[in-house]
């Protein structure tokens, strides 16, 4: 279990991370979303014991990142937002180097390397030189490196940046796989759709503040006190909008075109059915009536102001 409590980092006057707290369980794939400069990398580097927090701390399976960094390090796989690969080494040599640093017993190293290569689909590249790999492969090699010691927590900082769509899709599948293996996976990104479909938990950070945290569906619901209904009419969109404004639970109603009306509705589903009944009995030619699906993107745009430090 990863427990982050009031983690804070300050550079002079600049508060890069302002008391972030959250808790993750094994199997959680956590999408850490925020625009550039929001504080994602700083948070991740503090958890990976590379940066000392100004205040607050985090514990991973009971080990404290400030008091016992060596114990934490042996349980995490950290993938920074750059590759940091060595040239002039072969793929297996690279993995062998990290396997020995992470104290994988010599007798098991061969098997471990074969396993992570298979998982990251790099088996055919085992004897290739690192610099000969494509960008997507190098990214997967970095991930393979993070996996040699079977860590409990994976910290992946913007893993999908700079990858082509295919490599991106492969990476997503791989990250989902890792969550199923019971690891805690933290994936940061400034591009929302990149995370939305394979994370089960999200956190939205802006200017160092964690604005929202929780399971994806809960976040999406929580941010909406009203639902948005979309009505399609044959005609009289404007008149129907004016009519609805006087009905109960209608917070706002606006015709967006000749035939479309958007309604901010605070009632429940019963009351939604009532609304439709009123409209029809009033003689409005309703041909479509549906709730707009709120998604993470809306929540993100709603919560953040777009301000970047």
């Amino acid at each position: 279990m990863l427990e982050v409590r009031n983690l804070r980092k300050q550079y002079g006057d600049l508060v890069a991370v302002n008391g972030v707290s959250f808790c993750l369980q094994p199997g959680d794939v956590f999408g850490f979303i925020g625009s550039n400069g929001a504080g994602k990398t700083t948070t991740i580097r503090m958890i990976s014991t590379l940066l000392e927090p100004t205040a607050g701390t985090a514990t991973l399976n009971g080990a404290d990142i400030v008091k016992d960094p060596l114990a934490v390090r042996s349980m995490i796989g950290y993938m920074p937002d750059f590759f940091g690969l060595y040239d002039d080494v072969k793929v297996w040599e690279y993995l062998d180097f990290f396997a020995s640093i992470y104290r994988v017993p010599r007798s098991q190293r061969g098997d471990v390397i074969d396993n992570v290569l298979q998982l990251t689909d790099l088996t055919v590249k085992k004897d290739a030189f690192v610099q000969s790999l494509s960008r997507g492969m190098q990214q997967r090699l970095c991930l393979a490196r993070c996996l040699v010691h079977d860590p409990a927590l994976l910290l992946l900082d913007e893993p999908a940046s700079g990858l082509d769509p295919r490599a991106r899709a492969e990476l997503k599948a791989l990250i989902g796989e890792l969550g199923k293996m019971g690891k805690i996976v933290v994936v940061s990104s400034h591009i929302l759709p990149e995370l939305a479909d394979f994370c089960n938990t999200v956190g939205i950070i802006e200017r160092g503040d964690l604005l929202a945290f929780g399971p994806v569906d809960q976040i999406v619901k929580g941010a909406h006190t009203t639902r948005v209904l979309e009505l399609r009419l044959l005609r009289e969109a404007n008149a129907s909008a004016r009519f609805m404004l006087d009905l109960p639970h209608v917070v706002a109603a606006q015709a967006t075109s000749e035939s479309l009306v958007c309604v901010d509705f605070s009632g429940d589903y019963e009351q939604q059915a009532e609304l439709l009944k009123h409209l029809v009995s009033e003689g409005f030619p309703v041909i479509g009536f549906r709730e707009q699906e709120a998604d993470l993107e809306d929540v993100f745009l709603r919560l953040t102001t777009g301000a970047v430090q």
């Binding site: 590379l50 940066l51 390090r73 920074p80 060595y86 990290f98 992470y102």
Partner: protein, 281 residues
């Protein structure tokens, strides 16, 4: 050194994989490593040439002369091979990845240092063979004590070179800066300062002797003169060459290594390497 720290730094240090890595980096041949293969081929040729030359002129080459050459080669080779040991990791940004691994700073420095000593040890072993040939056949007189003193000076100075290069590499941002500072430091202490002292004091032997006391090449020359039976007419008594230098080199190496470990603390993250904002200043 206590048993725990010995275990921590040596027997139980996962960074000893640096030895394997050094070996792979400098001594592996084959496709994809053509530069390496070329350099190794040239080195083998040079070595064979040296062996042939030594065999041919075995009676004319003074053993300590060969040790002098060996020390000169170490002086160039150690910075050339090791300048990137830490600065290079930082440059490639593999450093953060290493720092996030469960190894201590001391273990990293110890690993880098022991990896460097492997290269040095191989060089030393390669040179030992021709040196022993000249020792056996040299027609001049070579007493065993100055000979051993010369070998000890060469080896311990080599260790100091490794420690110095690693230290400067730990402090530098870029590996070529580490190389530059190392070579400049060596040039200054080994050549420029003695030269300057000699000029300023107008050949005052005592002053020069002081300026060069810890200069391995000066000490080696003194040992050659000693073993030839001649003695230095003035300046330091000849007996003081050998042990003091060795002790100084080893002690200074230890200081530099300890200092490197401390230096790594601020290489911990890139805070110091980011341009400072106006508000921070």
């Amino acid at each position: 050194m206590t048993t725990t720290s010995w275990k921590h730094l040596v027997t139980d240090n996962p960074m000893l994989v640096e030895i394997t890595r050094t070996r792979r980096r400098f001594m592996s041949l084959g496709a994809g490593r053509s530069v390496n293969s070329g350099v190794i081929a040239v080195l083998i040729m040079c070595y064979l040439g040296l062996l042939l030359g030594v065999l041919r002129f075995r009676e004319d080459i003074a053993p300590i002369g060969l040790i002098f050459a060996q020390t000169a080669i170490f002086t160039i080779l150690a910075p050339a091979l090791l300048h990137g040991s830490i600065a290079g990791e930082r440059e490639r940004r593999s450093w953060d990845i290493l720092m996030a691994a469960p190894v201590s700073k001391a273990q990293i420095v110890a690993g880098k240092f022991l990896g460097a000593l492997t290269v040095l040890g191989i060089g030393f072993a390669l040179f030992l063979f021709p040196t022993l040939i000249t020792l056996a056949f040299y027609r001049g007189h070579t007493p065993i004590v100055p000979f051993l003193g010369a070998e000890a000076i060469s080896a311990s100075f080599g260790i100091l070179l490794c420690a110095l290069t690693i230290f400067l590499s730990a402090r530098a941002r870029r590996s070529f800066m580490a190389l530059g500072t190392t070579l400049t430091t060596l040039l200054l202490t080994l050549l420029a300062i003695p030269g300057l002292v000699a000029t300023l004091t107008m050949g005052n032997d005592v002053a020069l002797e002081f300026a060069c006391y810890f200069n391995p090449f000066w000490a080696l020359v003194a040992l050659v003169r000693l073993s030839d039976g001649s003695h230095i007419s003035n300046g330091m008594p000849a007996l003081v060459y050998g042990l003091p230098q060795v002790a100084f080199y080893l002690g200074f190496s230890a200081i530099l290594l300890a200092w490197s470990i401390n230096t790594l603390i601020f290489a911990d993250n890139d805070v110091k390497f980011k341009p400072r904002k106006a508000s921070d200043a």
